[in-house]
Every structure is written in C-alpha cells, then in structure tokens.
Symmetry: C2
Subunit: 328 residues, 2 copies
Amino acid sequence: MTNTTLKKISEVLGISISTVSRALKNHPDISTKTKQKVVELAQTLDYEPNANAVNLRTSNSKLFGVIVPSVSSYFYDSFIAALEEECRNNDYRLMILQSGDDPDIELNNVKLCRQNRVTGLFACLTPQTKDVHHFLKLNELNIPVVFFDKVPDIASCNKVCVADTDAASIAARAIRNKNKKNVLAIFGSKELSITKKRLEAFSKILNKNEVNFDLQFALNNDQAQKITEEALQKKNPPDTIFCMSDEILIGAMKAIQEANLSIPSEIGIIAISNGFFPKLYYPEITYVETSAYKLGKLAFTGMMACVAGTHFTQELTVQSLLIEGGSL
Amino acid sequence: MTNTTLKKISEVLGISISTVSRALKNHPDISTKTKQKVVELAQTLDYEPNANAVNLRTSNSKLFGVIVPSVSSYFYDSFIAALEEECRNNDYRLMILQSGDDPDIELNNVKLCRQNRVTGLFACLTPQTKDVHHFLKLNELNIPVVFFDKVPDIASCNKVCVADTDAASIAARAIRNKNKKNVLAIFGSKELSITKKRLEAFSKILNKNEVNFDLQFALNNDQAQKITEEALQKKNPPDTIFCMSDEILIGAMKAIQEANLSIPSEIGIIAISNGFFPKLYYPEITYVETSAYKLGKLAFTGMMACVAGTHFTQELTVQSLLIEGGSL
DNA sequence: AAGAACTCCGCAATCGTTTGCGGAATTGTT
DNA sequence: AACAATTCCGCAAACGATTGCGGAGTTCTT
C-alpha cells in the first residue's frame, strides 16, 4: 500500500486539494459538512502529512538539533531529557546527534543540521574543537546556536553553563567545615577550561583556610583509580578525596572499595556530579549538584528567546547546591 | 543571509538549475569546466542541499527511526551507539525517539516516523503496549520494522533479542559450579516476558542440581535493595545473590555495602548485564553479558536485509557469555 | 428587486530538488 | 561533403503540501 496524500483524499471526495488541506486544518472557509467528510476519510485512510513537503513549503522545520559527545552519559542524557520534555510541550522535534568527541563528526553533524534546516541548534563542543566558524555560519543564516557545557571562549555567542566556580567553592567549603586536613583532589584534563575554573576556585578556598591538598589530574576513571590507590598506600594517606566529576568518582570509589576502607569514618569523599552515581553507593556520596536537567531547561528557554527574536548573547548559569549524603 | 539554493548558483553562473544539480553530483553529461565552476561556487557560497526537498523528490529519506524507552540507560545507549556507527557507514541518518515507557508517547513516536517517511524503524515496546497494530501498519506501507529487546508476542514480525534463556542458564551453571547452596535470586517485573523466560531457565537448572534459592521480584533498585537488606538479616542468609538486571544489581550492591560484607568471601554475587555497572565495583562483578551493542549490530543487519527486500520475519538472537569478575 | 455582504470552494504559484527527454553544437566516420 | 555519433546542456514535470486571490452561489440589506 502506498501513502495517503491530500490528492488521494481529494480525488475520492471529488473536491480540490486546497479544500482538503484547509478542512484538515479546520479553516473557517470550509463548511462543517465538508470538514466532517474530509476528516473522516483521512482517518480511515490513515493520512499522515508528509513532513518533508510541509517543511519545504513552510520553511519552518519545527526541529531543533542537539549535539552531545555521547548520549551514554549520566550528564548529557539528563540534558537531552529536559530538552525533549520542552520540545514535546512546544511542538518541536529534536534531532539528537553524537560527536563522539571527534571534531570531524562534529562538523558533519553541523552540516546535517543545516541540510535539515533546523530552527536552532544546541551544541556542546568537543575538547579538540578549535575552530567554531561552522557554528557561527549558522548564525548568519539566522539559525540560533546555544552552546552548553563545553562552550567556546569567544564572547559573541549564546552559552548556558553550570556554575563551575561556585560548585568547586561549595565543595571546598564543605571540606573545610568538616575540618579535614589532608585532601586528595582529583581533577579532569588540564586542558579543559572547566577544569581550570574549578581548580582555581577550589584551591583558593582551601589555601585560604590552610587545608593541605594533593593535586592530581586524571583523564578517565582508570587513572583516577590508580591515583587513589597510590595515595592510599602512602604513609600519610588523605582523609578526604575530592572528585571533580562522576568519572573520577567512579575510579576513586573502586580504589576505596579495594582498600576496604569504610566511609566516612576512615575516609571522606565528595564529588561534583549530576547526581546519579553518588546514589549508587552506601553511604550515598555527598556531592555538589550541577544539574544537567536544569541546564537543559535553561538552554531551551534561551533558545526560545532567540527564536522569538530576543537574542541574549550572554552566559546564563544554573546554580549549584550541596546534596548531603553520608560520605563526608 | 539566506540559504544558498541551486537556483541561486545557476543564476550567478548563467546556467540552468539542472546543470548545476548534475554538476554537483558529478554526472557524466556535464563538462569538466562547468563542473569545476559549479563546485567552486557552491563551495564559496556554502551550499547545502535542502534535505526536505531531496527527500520529497526522491522519496528516499535515508532515515531510520529508533524508539527506546530512554537513552539514559547503559543498555539502550549501547544499542543506539551500534546503530549510529552502522548508519554513519551506510550513509543513513538516525532519528532517536524516547517513549518514556508511555504507550501514548510511543504511538506519537510512530506517527512522527511516518510523517518523516522513515525508511525503517527499530522499536522496543513499552511494557504496557498491548496493541501493536500501528507498528504493523508500517509494514503495509513497506516500511520494515525491526523489534528489539522488548518484542511483541506475535510471530509475523522481525525481532532481534538477547539470548534470555541462555543467559539465565549460564548464570545458574556458574552458581552451581561454585557449589553455592543458598541463593537469593532477584528478578524484575513478573509481567515482562523477559522475566518469565529467564526465570524458567534459571530455576530449571538450580532445581535439577538441588540448589536452594529464594525467589524475589523487584520493580526497581530501591526494592532490590530492600529485599537484599532483609535477606541478609535472616538467620540463614544467602551465600550468593543473582541479579537479573543492572538495576537490580545496583540495589543489591548498595545493601551489601551497607552490611559491610566483603565479596566474594562473605557473599557472592552474579548478574545479567550489558557490562558497564559490573565494572564499577571492586572486585568487579561476575556477569553474563547480554550485549546491547551486538544487538544493535544484529538489528541493523536485519534491517538492511529487509530494505534490500529479503524479509527475514524471524527471531535473531545474540549469544550470551560469562564474563568472570571476582565476585563469585 | 438589486446591489452588498457572506459562504464556500478551486486555481495556480511556490518551496528546492531530481531526472527523462529532446535538441543544439561539436566531433567522427566514410 | 553528407551523415552518424558524441558531448553537453536546458525544458518541464514531478514530489506533497500551503496559501493568496478570485469567483460562483447564497443570504442580507434597504
């Protein structure tokens, strides 16, 4: 069987295509009887409008694109969930694209967005992305781009971020308040601006309070695990571990389990997290929430402002807050 | 600035639209010089073909849809990752849709797929889906549907599954081989056919070997945790815990950590899993792998067979295998 | 009763591509 | 030199919808 079209309906009913189209859209020009007939037939023939034809004609795709490194992450998936909710409520579709942290794929994804004439694009850069001109090209075409999480350094673009410095400060203060004296602080890649920001805020507070800390960097959970293992074997082991991200938390926790230390009596631990992984352990890990879900909501609000014409061209941030588990 | 079209290019160059179109597709009818001119201008004008127009004209969307309960899962995300890889290699796009386990949203997702004239659809049913006729409607329209993971009971459709019974059998045998005597077996929702299949195979083997086991059902990780907590407090606590899924594993592990039992000396644990969560713990959990990634690859192969005309209309399965951690 | 005002519908252009067909200009064949 | 074969390109029709405009028929006004 082939797809039902307006033409087919019009032929069966012996009326024009335009009338069918208007009838289905409940246009006032069409009589009630005609509308009934049309709607009924469309029903039985299982008519579904061809989205390609509609988009082509109206040049309004009602489609947003979103580029994330990977959907397999308990951060970006929350972000996407938030976007999807909003899209559903506002009658938009969402095209989800994964860059795999590969700039070439990222470039191709942007191309796909252009080819599909997205109304707007949410983008999280790969760590390797130096050149963002293909994104800025979209702005020339009046396609708003809202960057999130990993955003470009340039000022003239829309970005939404989690409050990185705040999150680190909150964690640092929590550590100080517990009178911890010897902290193992594990951060992510030195290259990332997010790392720099968090590190700066974190060390500022600990230094001011004369809390001693061992600064380490890990690119993945295995490295974090190794670092933690080694630290725990020192003669002067840390009394607290700070983890800049979920990935690092996972590695550190594995090492703690291996050393069979009990939390929080033998060692304390605190992380910056979206909230899923801290709840996996007993006791649940105390963490500073940087909510990807809220970030998604914020990004969408910003996007809608852009679409409505109110460009914001600025950095919006979602606040961080301390979620007390039992690990510190 | 507005989007570049074939028309614009043709006007600048003073040639016809058809020539531009053919030149960009490297058609033999077009002279080398013309091709050069066209390609060059298209480059500088940053031409991107309008996907809607192309799809409309060719009625070949080169687009697959995939409906999952949620991308936030270390099962479906692997599945999607596999699909995406294959799509990229075969020059297809993937439309990712989430049902949130809501049959209404599922229905709407199917509608979206139809409106966008997908070439084929990969679908995982919600547990509540009784009526699959909207899926079968797609087949009438010559749109192949490949069900995966949660598949309908009816025979006349294409399905790919993990080897449920095998996985459970392998786990049961592993338990027997370790001479375990008292097993706490936690399964998922009784309603799910996947639960029934796994349970049947599992109990068959343990019964045959006269291994005693306490059968429990948990709908989420919290319930699994409670169940485990209670079991551990009995005067005759289990020496082994079997977890039918990652979600259950998470709950059980939390309870074990709470009870401060060491693995595997004080208690053994084994799960059926896609492989991510077992590696989160120390020692790593022994599990039977039901690979979503392999499932995705298999589903894609099946889909391509359908698209090529070779309907398979049968159930394909990916094999399970035991991955030894240190938890049993 | 005759013009005004409505009701209701169809014509045809348009969105941006693709592609079968035909034809002018060039080249090759005897 | 006459004819055939190539080479290269344009015309125009589709794909399936939306929408401004105009017009036939009906009802309302005075």
